[in-house]
């Protein structure tokens, strides 16, 4: 049933370009390409974020993302899926994650993208470290996402 549907899972230290990831899922039978692009914020409460870095348990993160895609295919009527996540230094404002899903009709694609980013944020072993500007007290923190999507 899904034999000709393609998955692209990539944990990369290279910059991620939304358009390049979206292009991976294009298909002549698709009426929609739905995407989510996550970017890194420059503030946390009253602290100014100077730099950010992501770390991943790469093989488990890839396996875990693949598992989410498999689950999404059961829940939603979708075609191709691409999920790219950045690791290493990620300057403020840069893209940290892109999810792109093609589907015959828009609703299932939009719902799949929303579900995939919620699940990714609570399940996939990737961690973000924020380093704060000395002007706002300095220091660094490993962040934790809320466990409720």
């Amino acid at each position: 049933m899904t034999s000709n549907h393609k998955d692209f899972v990539c944990i990369t230290s290279d910059p991620i370009r939304l358009e390049a990831v979206a292009n991976l899922v294009h298909d002549p039978k698709a009426g929609a390409v739905s995407t989510f692009s996550g970017t890194t914020r420059d503030n946390f409460e009253d602290k100014v974020v100077k730099t950010l870095a992501y770390e991943a348990y790469i093989p488990m993160a890839e396996k875990s993302i693949q598992g989410l895609i498999d689950e999404a295919r059961v829940k939603f009527d979708i075609m191709h899926v691409a999920i790219y996540h950045k690791i290493g230094d990620c300057p403020v404002g840069d893209t940290s994650v892109v999810i792109a899903v093609s589907s015959a009709h828009r609703r299932s694609g939009l719902e799949a993208v929303s579900w995939l980013i919620d699940e990714l944020k609570v399940k996939v072993p990737i961690w973000k470290k924020e380093v704060y500007s000395e002007n706002t007290g300095g220091g660094a923190t490993w962040k934790a996402n809320s466990t409720l999507p």
Binding site: Y57, M60, K63, S64, V122, P125, K128, W142, N145
Partner: protein, 86 residues
């Protein structure tokens, strides 16, 4: 005399900061469940204690949810602190 067997611990993010290493091999012993593993790790790395209180274990790249789980020789066990991808 039985040959010494071991398992691998992986440390990421705050766990890596606490242990100052990203992995180590530990001598395996029978009946090492998650409670005993936590005690063993805190003994080796006291700074891990508050992190283990909020972390999960992944065994061979799967989250553990079986309460009867024990470490097997050659397992790859990772401490998974609260995740923050996205």
């Amino acid at each position: 005399m039985a040959e010494t067997q071991s398992f691998t611990m992986l440390y990421f993010a705050s766990a890596k900061d606490a242990t100052q290493t990203d992995s180590e091999k530990i001598e395996w012993s029978p009946s090492l469940d998650s409670t005993k593993l936590t005690a063993l790790l805190v003994e080796r790395h006291p700074a891990l204690k508050p992190i283990l209180a909020i972390s999960m274990y992944a065994v061979n790249m799967e989250y553990t949810d079986d309460p009867s789980w024990t470490v097997q020789p050659n397992d790859e066990v990772a401490i998974i602190p609260p995740v923050s991808g996205g």
